[in-house]
């Protein structure tokens, strides 16, 4: 029994190292093989130009749009749900949110293709609705249930005692929230937001279908209505068509390594925040 358990633990713990090791080894050719200008803004494999900046920029841009939209909306909604007097409303909302959080991302992609991109195209009179803004909106929809559910948990986790003490001092509801509840729930809300951020960064399917797949920086730079490319959509589109062992493939692996480093740090930080205990008064 002990030997079996030990072996399982070794294998499970080793997986992450194997994955990271594989990525590092296979990004080697891109990093050391030739004199590649990886951090340039031009991506053109036929000219041996592998600039990954457009993809990195696209990833960050889409993520920012998603967070800017989903975070305030999600936290405000979470406050409402946590503070409402109606238990029934809370139960119904929480269970439908959990259903939504479990919807596979490819279905969000389908919604993006069937509705969102058409609406964006119509609304802004574009030729194609497959642009950065659509991807950001879609990601915002995707992470909204996660943000609401986890923030609601954090806010309703603050004990009633604290609320009553604050309310009995003659504080308005918003003052109770702002000065008491949010400071106490902040680490949990931050953890929830980081988790959502990690998910937004690593999301492939939904983004890939609506981003438009253009390997260039938008012009002007912050034009959310131009097509773009994220690291994940780049990987999703190109890995299968790229010959294994080529420089092109290696650059793709390197991009994946960058992405993994980001999401790993964010996810572990989120985990750490959510795991802090004995903080509630």
């Amino acid at each position: 029994m002990q030997r079996y358990a030990f072996l399982s633990a070794i294998i499970s713990s080793g997986l992450i190292l194997v994955i990271l090791g594989t990525l590092v080894i296979h990004s080697g050719p891109a990093l050391f093989g030739q004199d590649l200008d990886l951090f340039s803004t031009t991506w053109d494999p036929s000219q041996s130009q592998y600039g990954i900046i457009p993809m990195v920029f696209g990833t960050l841009f889409v993520m920012c749009i998603a967070m800017v939209l989903a975070l305030p909306l999600g936290i405000l909604s979470a406050i409402y749900i946590a503070e409402t007097r109606s238990d029934r409303l809370r139960r119904i909302l929480k269970s439908s949110l959990e259903v939504l959080a479990g919807i596979p991302s490819i279905i969000y992609g389908l919604i993006g293709v069937a509705y969102l991109s058409l609406w964006v195209a119509d609304g802004f009179e574009l030729q194609t609705g497959r642009v950065i803004l659509t991807a950001g909106l879609l990601l915002a929809l995707m992470i909204l249930p996660t943000i609401i559910t986890l923030s609601e948990d954090a806010i309703s986790g603050v004990s009633r005692q604290v609320r009553e003490n604050a309310a009995s001092l003659g504080l308005y509801k918003y003052e109770v929230i702002k000065h008491v509840i949010l400071p106490i729930a902040r680490p949990d809300i931050a953890g929830a937001s980081l988790l959502a951020l990690g998910r937004a960064l690593g999301e492939t399917m939904a983004v890939m279908l609506v981003i438009g797949s253009l390997d260039r920086l938008p012009s002007p730079l912050f034009n959310a209505l131009s097509s773009s490319q994220t690291i994940t959509s780049k990987l999703g589109r190109e890995i299968a068509e790229t010959p294994f062992g080529s420089t092109h493939f290696s650059v793709l692996v390197f991009m994946s390594l960058i992405l993994v480093s980001f999401t790993l740090i964010i996810t572990l930080a989120a985990q750490k925040m959510l795991n802090q205990e004995a903080r509630h008064v």
Partner: protein, 283 residues
């Protein structure tokens, strides 16, 4: 009216507006899936073969392929997760080692799904020369849900009071016997719940399997472990890419609805398992 009272009213209004926006988004998401999906879904659709590149016909083999993938990944992940959880809960004595194992396993959650696909492509398809085969998909999905299953099992094991362990040892059971007779039965609910939640997530994953385990058309059931299958999420992907064709789009919704029904079924089972399999313990 004082400034504070005014802010309070604005605040209450902002909360209402936010909730209303969120609610309409939720209603739109759920509504569109149910509305579009129920139009496409029928008995025939579920039980017939796909034709015309998915634009007509049904999704029989896609359902089958998805179920094969998650069934085998369940078989792969279960012994590994169980063993890890047992080791972590019953054999690890140093806090430091425990935290390192936790870190390593949590990290798997931080790997984007597309990276699993890339990893599978490098290791299994190319280095091991397995070609595109469904078994790779099962392995990758098993890796992805390993943290979920392990953590859920481990938490159920930690919740067993130490008095159970002390009493079993006092009765002369060896540690291995104690694990078999006390720990495993008492933590069954956590194991099953974690597994079902993991599978509910695995069956909807597209990115890890789309270029290592699946083919879009012309696939029936696999006759060996080195063959591709067709699955629900990759079918949706293929149909979504021909979204200008209304027939393809309709079938994409039908496939999505079927997929969601399976996900909800698995999640409901997980919920039931958590509550029904929970052992009664004296307070």
């Amino acid at each position: 009216m004082s400034k504070r009272a005014a802010i309070n009213i604005i605040y209450a209004g902002a909360l209402r507006v936010a909730l209303l926006v969120s609610l309409s988004i939720l209603a739109f998401l759920i509504g569109s899936i149910i509305w579009q999906g129920s139009k496409a879904l029928s008995f025939d659709f579920i039980f017939s073969d796909a034709r015309d590149f998915g634009a007509s016909g049904g999704i029989r083999y896609q359902i089958l392929g998805s179920l094969i993938l998650i069934a085998v990944s369940a078989l792969l992940v279960l012994p590994l997760a169980l063993g890890t959880a047992i080791y972590r809960s019953e054999y690890v004595t140093s806090e430091k080692l425990g935290r390192r194992i936790d870190l390593a396993i949590f990290s798997l959650n931080g790997i984007p799904s597309i990276t699993y696909g890339l990893f599978g492509l490098i290791i299994f398809v190319n280095l091991f020369g397995m070609g595109i085969s469904w078994s790779i998909g099962s392995i990758l999905l098993a890796m992805m849900i390993l943290p979920t299953v392990t953590v859920s099992s481990y938490q159920a094991m930690r919740a067993i009071p130490d008095s159970y362990r002390e009493n079993s040892i006092a009765l002369g059971l060896s540690r291995a016997q104690m694990v078999r007779r006390v720990i495993l039965p008492q933590s069954l609910h956590g194991v099953v719940t974690g597994l079902l939640i993991g599978l509910a997530r695995a069956i909807g994953e597209t990115a890890p399997i789309m270029f290592v385990a699946t083919a879009f058309s012309g696939v029936t059931w696999p006759r060996s472990i080195n063959e591709p299958v067709s699955t629900l999420p990759t079918h949706i992907l293929a149909l979504a890419q021909q979204a200008t064709n209304p027939d393809a789009l309709r079938n994409a919704w039908g496939t999505s609805f079927s997929l969601i029904l399976i996900v909800i079924l698995l999640s409901t089972l997980a919920y039931v398992a958590r509550h029904k399999l929970q052992p009664g313990r004296p307070q």
